[in-house]
Amino acid sequence: MTPTSSPAKRQLTVPTVADLAAQGKAPEILFWVGCAGAFDDRYKRVTRAFARILEHVGTNYAVLGLEESCTGDPAKRAGNEFLFQMQAMQNITTMNGYGIKKIVTACPHCFNTIKNEYPALGGDYEVIHHSTYLQQLINEGKVAVQGGESYKGRRITFHDSCYLGRANNIYEAPRDVLAALDADLVEMKRSKANGLCCGAGGAQMWKEPEPGKKDINIERTEEALATLSGQAAALDNLRGVETERTAPSQHSLQGSIIAVSCPFCMTMMSDGVKNKEQESAVQVFDLAELVASAEGINA
């Protein structure tokens, strides 16, 4: 499989569940885009990358399109249970009406809410996060992560999303996906179950932080940058963190990557990298973007 100089490309018409229903068809899997995936300019690129992957492997999928509405996650975390349940029941009515059985989403917050909190309200679905889905595609050989950009030897550190990790015990799937890129994966001291939040969960995304001495995303970005440059051991605020240890080394930050799997982490880590004025050296990418670009299907 060699990359062609001028690859043929085709325009996607993303199917909606309503369109399919009008033709008497139903998708095998619903791609739940989520509000950030639909509206946030940065995360729209992730949604587009993931849609390309779904098309590329020929998945029988569809989106709800204009019929999708916020899962209610931020309302629930903020204590507005009433609003959460209104949103949840509206979405459940929509999805049950179409007979949806299986859902994939690129947002850990949507994933957690639909998977864990919708069943009590009458919404029972098989829900998978896109990191698990990508892992399956790679394991099944449907995606070779070859033919596009090479990440061989690039330094990548994965920032765990709380709602994927601690909330749902998914730690290995995103790492397996990154491992397939043949990159130089480095773990932050606070990773997996000990991962540090980006600062946006629990509806913090929509409010200013309480008074303190630092913003959480800065604390986390400092750790990520120090890990990528091999200097994490020197970080004062990591002293006493008894987790995974990495031997000190010296690396240029140029070309290294912070990988995320959550739209809020994406915003917080990107802002952190900008705050540290490292945006020309370090990029923040979602797993789906890395896979689509390594597979060479961006057009």
Binding site: Q11, N80, E81, Q87, A200, E210, P211, G296
Partner: protein
């Protein structure tokens, strides 16, 4: 004959007082809202064996885990000797279990080694708390005054108990040497300490041995009755607390059933809301608020949590809000809950400790009659700093869940008081109006798919 009678009375008084205290604590815990935690026997047993008995989550931090393991195993094993002491005390026997022969030798030897190790571990614990600067997580506004003193008192008592054990054994050895008899048991530490004792008369040694014996058992019984006033109560409560752990994924927050009925009735007018629960005599129950304003609004498991907390601060030390200087400390929320339930309901305490003083509170409460858990102890500023990241829940060695109480109090603020920060109210109205937390038009929801192209390329394997 006098000694067994005195001993029986002491034992009766100690266990009676302890039972009296535990009953008050039980009543305090049951003040909380009902929550069905029955079933899942196998899973609960498994968790209790791993997390409580096996100390699984302690081993996330190796140094304190090993130190704690010494004290924990010491506590378990030395308790076997306490059984002997009780039998001896009641029936006037001496070293009743010595009929076990070589087993008794081993038991005494293990006891002595553990007791020595306990003293070493406790010294290390003391150093970690009291040297300058102490281990970070043993600081913080909630760990001043009584909680700080309590932690040290526990360490002093533990050392005193171990010393009394050695004192008792060495005096006994010396006494037997003088009498030319052999003392059953092997005493790797006390056999050396015995040489340090004055080579006085048999009577003196006899008094010393009895003194050691009485100090040891009286100390244990006093310590037992100190537990309900102390964070050290975790040595008992850790087990039921882990047994009643939440078994669902940590990301799953509780559902509010009363709201579910309301929303269902709104969406479907034919939906019949089930009749509200009534008192046994058929009268209506007092209405319960949404969320939690005070301790009785929390599920009883949250109050069980509060009595299981040993204030180790692992939760606070991994809390992203606390790490970056915000007011929120998950440990303080748990400690506040316990303080509040004892302030409002039963105080099981013999000593009524001051908590940690008014300095820790940023919004001083003037209206003491209404000093509920929310606002009286826990400020909204603390609650709104939480990212619901579950780091505190993950870190707790005995499966305490501070997050659940935080969310319950947020629910009260939002649903009963409409007291969310303004930016969150904007987010709520965006969801209501646009179906998204941001102010975007719902008709733009599929715009991401505009002008989307994919490179034509055969999949790796069809």
């Amino acid at each position: 004959m006098l000694q067994p009678i005195l001993f029986a009375l002491l034992l009766l008084a100690a266990f009676g007082l302890f039972t009296w205290q535990v009953r008050k604590i039980r009543a305090n815990i049951l003040v909380g809202r009902d929550r069905d935690m029955s079933g899942h026997f196998g899973e609960r047993l498994n968790k209790t064996l791993l997390v409580a008995f096996g100390q699984q989550k302690m081993f996330k931090r190796l140094t304190p885990a090993l130190l704690h393991l010494v004290v924990y195993v010491g506590f378990l094993v030395i308790n076997i000797e306490v059984i002997e002491i009780i039998i001896d005390g009641l029936f006037g026997t001496h070293r009743f279990l010595s009929f076990l022969g070589p087993v008794y030798d081993a038991l005494m030897a293990v006891n002595e080694v553990l007791a020595a190790l306990v003293i070493v571990a406790v010294a290390a614990f003391w150093w970690r708390r009291n040297h300058h600067p102490p281990v970070q997580r043993f600081t913080g506004p909630e760990l001043r005054m009584w909680p700080k003193l309590d932690a040290n008192i526990i360490l002093y008592i533990e050392v005193a108990l171990m010393l009394a054990l050695f004192f008792m054994n060495s005096a006994d050895i010396k006494l037997h040497q003088l009498e030319g008899k052999e003392l059953p048991g092997t005493f790797p530490v006390s056999q050396f300490l015995a040489n340090l004792l004055p080579a006085g008369s048999e009577t003196t040694l006899h008094v010393l041995e009895r003194a050691g014996w009485w100090i040891h058992i009286t100390g244990i019984l006093l310590f037992l009755n100190y537990l309900p006033s102390s964070k050290h109560f975790h040595i008992i409560m850790a087990f039921p607390n882990v047994w009643y752990s939440r078994l669902v994924p940590q990301g799953q927050f509780s559902n509010v059933d009363s709201i579910t009925h309301e929303v269902k009735a709104m969406m479907d007018p034919s939906y019949e809301v089930p009749a509200p629960a009534t008192n046994p005599d058929g009268s209506a129950l007092a209405p319960t608020p949404f969320g939690a304003k005070d301790v009785e609004d929390l599920p009883w498991t949250a109050l069980l949590n509060a009595y299981s907390c040993t204030e180790c601060g692992r939760c606070t030390s991994v809390c992203p809000a606390n790490l970056t200087g915000k007011l929120l400390s998950p440990r303080k929320i748990i400690m506040d809950t316990r303080d509040r339930v004892e302030e409002k309901y039963n105080s099981p305490l013999i000593f009524h400790p001051n908590v940690y003083g008014p300095e820790a509170k940023h919004e001083p409460v003037t209206d003491l009659a209404n000093a509920t858990l929310l606002r009286g102890k826990v400020t909204p500023e603390e609650l709104w700093a939480c990212t619901t990241c579950n780091a505190c829940v993950e870190s707790c060695p005995v499966n305490i869940n501070p997050l659940e109480s935080i969310v319950e109090m947020r629910r009260f603020l939002v649903l009963e008081e409409s007291a969310a920060p303004n930016s969150l109210n904007v987010m709520f109205s965006n969801i209501e109006n646009n179906g998204a937390p941001w102010a975007f038009s719902p008709s733009d929801r599929l715009n991401w798919a505009d002008d989307l192209y994919v490179a034509e390329k055969a999949p790796a394997r069809a």
